[in-house]
């Protein structure tokens, strides 16, 4: 009896397996749908940014489908995305990528959230020769491995704060500056650091403090005391949202006076909301801002995107959403230019992408990184108790003047 049951179970599972593999092998394009796959962090520590990413993807899918979809060989297709929750876990993300490709038969991938997870997925997509357009992995090491199927719509991490150093030198009358920097010890922040080292070399600037903050650290008091004692011209901090919030908290508490403070992750940390006036004058690197004057026919411009996104999801879009939406525009463009669903043709079309989206110009360099879009810097400015991010660099899109130097704490109300 027992044996019989076992045999039966085996038989049933074999049939199910066979059915699954048969039914899904044509899933790349099902009827009028082009199926994209994405492993995304809906739970775990990246879940808020994972959801921003997913909202960005969904918004673009809806918009493109509503506006006629994708035209390939004279036929209109619509986008559809299969999502799996990677639980913010790189191992899980790689497994899910494999599952999307092998079981669900997905032939085109959208990236996950964060550099770490993108790094976990890229070898899988590369192995199966699946083109992946990603919007949330900025680490420089993603673009130096010679990946052929990876395309990123965002600027690489080393470019995040380079502009800030140039700006500091410019404000210093073209003379080199003294830089103090504190970076968390993770792939992304260390890439940002490399960018600063390059900029320092280029401008002849001197790095007087170069602290690497351990990941577990939530106290920067020692670094800031050193900054206070050495009086640099610029203080650069990068350590994700925790780093940004800790830095502002302790800079304001310890009354550290620096003429210029440049950081990353200010908007993700909701710096201007959580720290209010204490965050004023902080200079922040951002991939995108709604005030930029880029345009496309799907979303109009940044301001319209901001408005539509708010209407649909009830909050202002962070840049993570904007860049994710842009990834879909890139795919649509590539499919239409390739005029085929052949993976390699789509990949070749992606490689020659040269377009403008509401998010910025997109053109891929040899490593797959976007080389056509500069990073922007905004500065937190307050009126009364409400603080806002104002674009101050590059000058072409600046809506406000860069306030320099930061007034001393003793002079701030």
């Amino acid at each position: 009896m027992n044996k019989l049951t076992k045999l039966f179970v085996t038989f049933i599972s074999a049939i199910t397996l066979a059915l699954v593999s048969f039914s899904s092998s044509f899933a790349k394009v099902e009827g009028e749908y082009i199926v994209l796959g994405s492993a995304i962090s809906l739970t775990g520590k990246y879940s808020s940014n994972g959801v921003h990413t997913q909202n960005g993807y969904n918004m673009a899918v809806d918009r493109i489908n509503k506006m006629g979809g994708v035209e390939v060989q004279g036929k209109k297709y619509k986008f559809e995305i299969i999502y799996y929750d990677d639980e913010s876990n790189p191992k899980r993300a790689a497994q899910l990528a494999e599952r999307l490709i092998k079981q669900d038969g997905v032939h085109y991938m959208l990236g996950p959230y964060s550099s770490g997870l993108t790094k976990a997925i890229a070898p899988v997509t590369e192995k199966y020769k699946i083109p992946m357009v990603e919007a949330n992995g900025a680490s420089r090491s993603l673009f130096t491995k010679g990946y052929k199927y990876l395309f990123a719509v965002l600027s690489p991490a080393n470019q995040y704060l380079e502009v800030a150093i140039d700006l500091a030198v410019e404000k210093n009358g073209g003379k080199p500056v003294r830089i103090a920097q504190a970076f968390e010890q993770d792939a992304f922040s260390q890439d940002v650091r490399l960018g600063i080292l390059d900029a320092a070399k280029r401008t002849g600037s001197e790095i007087i403090i170069d602290d690497k903050l351990p990941k577990e650290l939530n106290d920067m008091a020692a670094t800031l005391a050193k900054v206070k004692a050495t009086k640099p011209d610029v203080l650069v901090v990068s350590g994700h949202t925790k780093g940004a919030l800790t830095a502002i908290r302790q800079i304001s508490e310890m009354k550290v006076d620096v003429p210029m403070l440049a950081m990353t992750h200010c908007d993700a940390a909701k710096l201007s909301k959580q720290h209010g006036k204490n965050s004023e004058y902080a200079l922040c690197a951002s991939q995108w801002h709604k005030n930029l004057s880029y345009k496309d026919k799907f979303f109009g411009g940044g301001k319209k995107y901001d408005k539509d996104f708010k209407k649909e999801f009830g909050y202002a879009p962070p840049y993570q959403s904007a860049e994710s939406s842009a990834a879909l525009l890139v795919f649509k463009d590539a499919f239409e230019r390739a005029n085929s669903f052949d993976r390699d043709k789509v990949r070749d079309a992606l490689k020659t992408t040269d377009m403008q989206t509401f998010y910025g110009n997109i053109k891929f360099g040899p490593g797959g990184q976007n080389v056509a879009k500069p990073m922007i810097l905004f500065q937190v400015r307050c009126k009364g108790d409400t603080c806002e991010n104002k674009v101050v660099a590059p000058t072409k899109w600046a809506s406000d003047k860069f306030y320099h130097p930061i007034p001393k704490w003793s002079e701030r109300s």
């Binding site: 808020s48 602290d211 005391a225 050193k226 004692a229 994700h240 919030l245 508490e253 940390a269 909701k270």
Partner: protein, 297 residues
């Protein structure tokens, strides 16, 4: 640059004060851990997550417009019941088993707590503002955030309160009796089950106080509990169980050591340096113990 601290000796004052203030806060968490480790022989891996949960209670009050400093009163009350419930649900099943089982159980609790906090409070890093300002010393060259001074003062108050409670109250004496010999205490009429539940509750309450203080001095995130567990574990290892003054000194000492390691060895080595110290202390202890054993032979 390595020797900045010697060029500007005032930094030594800053480093010492920073280290001591933070050390006192960590000592409070460690004291809770030492207490329940001593009484129940349980190493609580979820210690840091209880701290963060306490922090989120204060943060929720802050969002509701109440000053987060009130969290040092509200948070321990809520956390006491959380701890008590945890004991009734999970810990009472592992309390008499070996250490490994209790580590596994509390590790599981830690994961559940992290996910729950992530679910309820979201995955963003948050801070509560105390607006306490700053104390400037030595012509503004040493700055101490008043929130850190407040945190240290409250920690000391709670610690003293607890010591008195342990010495004078009925429950306190029952807890100490159970710690010395649970079986004997039981024979003499102490309801050890109740004592265990209360101990776990008191530990959670201490975590609640520490969490509320962390919400106004540092940052909160559902997944940052582990460093607090590790830190308090180290303090307890160095200090030994059931010895409050030793825990306080060990907490402050580690805080000091870490700050100075930062200036002398560099920021990237500060946590590594603390772990090196731990290894050193453990080896030294073993050496001393083996000598003692030889006497006994």
């Amino acid at each position: 640059m390595d020797l900045l601290i010697f060029q500007a000796p005032i930094l030594m004052v800053q480093a010492s004060l920073d280290g001591i203030l933070l050390g006192i806060l960590f000592a409070l968490i460690a004291y809770g851990m030492a207490l329940q480790w001593g009484v129940m022989n349980i190493i609580n891996i979820a210690q840091g997550d209880l701290v963060i949960l306490g922090g989120y209670i204060a943060y929720t009050m802050y969002l509701a417009g109440i000053h987060p400093a009130w969290g040092v009163i509200v948070s321990p009350i809520i956390m006491y019941f959380v701890g008590w419930a945890l004991y009734k649900l999970v810990i009472n099943k592992v309390v008499d088993r070996d250490l490994f089982i209790s580590i596994l159980a509390t590790f599981g609790i830690a994961i559940v707590f992290q996910q729950l906090m992530n679910f309820v409070f979201g995955a963003d890093v948050v801070v509560a503002q105390s607006e306490y300002g700053t104390t400037m010393l030595f012509d503004n060259s040493v700055t101490l955030p008043n929130s850190k001074i407040f945190a240290a003062a409250i920690s000391v108050l709670y610690a003293i309160g607890l010591v008195i409670y342990m010495k004078k109250s009925r429950l306190g004496r029952a807890i100490r009796a159970t710690a010395q010999n649970a079986r004997a205490a039981k024979i003499l009429g102490v309801d050890t089950e109740k004592v265990y539940a209360a101990t776990f509750g008191i530990n959670a309450a201490l975590c609640g106080v520490a969490g509320a203080l962390i919400s106004i001095t540092l940052t909160l995130h559902p997944y940052v509990g582990l460093p607090y567990t590790v830190r308090s574990f180290m303090i307890v290892i160095v200090a030994g169980l059931g010895n409050l003054p030793a825990v306080a000194i060990s907490g402050m000492g580690l805080g000091l050591f870490e700050e100075f390691a930062d200036y002398i060895l560099g920021t990237e080595f500060r946590i590594g340096a603390v772990f090196m110290l731990l290894v050193f202390i453990l080896v030294y202890r073993r050496f001393k113990l083996s000598k003692k054993r030889e006497y006994l032979k």
